[in-house]
Amino acid sequence: MSDQPLRIMVIDDENIVGKRLKPALEKTGDIVETFEEGEKALARFAQEPFDIVVTDIRMEKIDGIEILEQILATSGRTKVIIITGYATVEIAREALSKGAFDFIAKPFKPSDLRAIIERASRELRS
């Protein structure tokens, strides 16, 4: 298990986030799929669960909280990391209380997200 790459799903309706995160997270050999729409991401997750889901909290059709709830209902072992904007830290706290693994506020460095993913990975593999 420890040598297997992580399967990471990134959901953000801002195209630039997935576009920039994908190559940054793939550098360590993990498998990354990006989505701009929550429905498509959930449909993909239903086909094949991911180890880690990184999702923006504010999106038009399905927000990050709803994604969190549906992901955890489908796969309790998946670690969900919430991306927040400026004024959404309170909502992020709500997400933590609902089972999110951690949250990170935009703007952020990929290395900061990588550190959270590594912590999540250690928990998954322990």
Binding site: E14, G85, P107, L113
Partner: protein, 334 residues
């Protein structure tokens, strides 16, 4: 002490000194807002380098924050110098329009609204978010932007009004004697070193009737400013001062606002040395002829303008500020 209690205490002072204190406090708010604007510029510059992941919302929030803070700065300036209000608010409206254009143009898929096309310094990405942020930075302080169109140009203009026409700073020669007599008539008599001293927050039910020594004022920055400035050389003490003082300083425990009353030398120093690095600073305004290189220690950012020199040092430790004040005091007073 709550703000309300402090204001109550200020209100008991003589009107002229009360006005002086309020102007000094308002100027500190003005500087505080200018500092936040510089921090916002730096934040944008840091993000555009490519290391961070951000979205359009970040850039729009940055624009909104700049406009909001710029409005606060204009308000402070128009309180300090009421006659500047009309001009500054008209300029502010233009910047609000420019900000709206930046947001609107980018939302419709077009480029930025600010003229100038050199994007070499921010060509790390062709993404629209980066393009928008680079346009915003050009609006903030783009060297290639037409003169007078940037936020920084506007800030300098606001400083010009405040520093040239504010009743505390910008003392023209004809006002110098008037301001000297203001402090003498108010009972604020020159202390050691020939400085009129006003305690910004101290309860002044009755203004002092005799000269007070500098050590009577509990002000950390004042003590450092004068620590190495030859106080001991004033052997006969304050009695030596016959013709009014050359300086006026408003102080509190961690604040110092020092202004010259000399007709031929403009110099204004504002500092906060509280130990909280995020808010501590030294700001200096001096006329164009002042040799700041020989007055200030290294590390200051100096901006020359048509009306004088602005210098500041931000995000430094209280120790650095105190050391700087000692050097400045020595160079000014010795």
């Amino acid at each position: 002490m709550s703000i309300l209690e402090k204001l109550k205490k200020i209100s008991r002072k003589e009107p002229e000194i009360r006005h002086f204190c309020i102007q000094t406090i308002r100027f500190k708010k003005f500087l505080e807002n200018a500092r936040v604007l510089l921090d916002l510029f730096n934040d944008g510059r840091e993000k555009v380098l490519g290391e961070y992941i951000f979205d359009r919302h970040y850039v729009v929030s940055l624009i909104d924050s700049v406009i909001e803070r710029l409005g606060m700065m204009v308000y402070d300036a128009s309180v300090l110098v009421p006659k500047s209000g009309e001009t500054l608010y008209a300029m502010y409206d233009k910047h609000k329009l420019a900000a709206g254009n930046l947001i609107g143009f980018s939302a419709s898929g077009n480029g930025g609204a600010i003229s100038g096309s050199d994007t070499s310094e921010i060509s790390l990405s062709a993404e629209p978010e980066y393009q928008l942020l680079s346009d915003v930075l050009r609006w903030f302080d783009g060297k290639e932007a037409p003169t007078g169109t940037t936020v920084m140009d506007f800030m300098k203009q606001a400083f010009f009004y405040v520093l040239q026409f504010d009743a505390i700073g910008g003392l023209e020669s004809s006002d110098s004697m008037k301001n000297q007599s203001l402090f003498e008539n108010s009972g604020v008599l020159a202390s050691d070193m020939g400085i009129y001293l006003v305690d910004l927050w101290k309860d002044a039910l009755a203004l002092p009737e005799k000269r007070r020594a500098i050590n009577d004022f509990n002000s950390v920055p004042l003590k450092h400013l004068l620590m190495d400035a030859g106080v001991k050389d004033v052997k006969s003490g304050p009695e030596n001062i016959h013709n009014g003082a050359s300086w006026v300083a408003a102080v509190s425990e961690y604040q110092l606002s020092l202004n010259t009353l000399k007709p031929d030398f403009q110099f204004r120093l504002e500092t906060l040395a509280s130990g909280y690095e995020q808010s501590d600073f030294i700001f200096i305004f001096a006329d164009k002829s002042a040799s700041l290189d020989s007055i200030l220690p290294a590390g200051f950012h100096i901006e020359s303008t048509d009306y004088g020199q602005l210098a500041w040092n931000l995000d430094v430790s209280v120790k650095t500020i105190e050391d700087s004040l000692m050097i400045i005091g020595r160079n000014l007073f010795n």
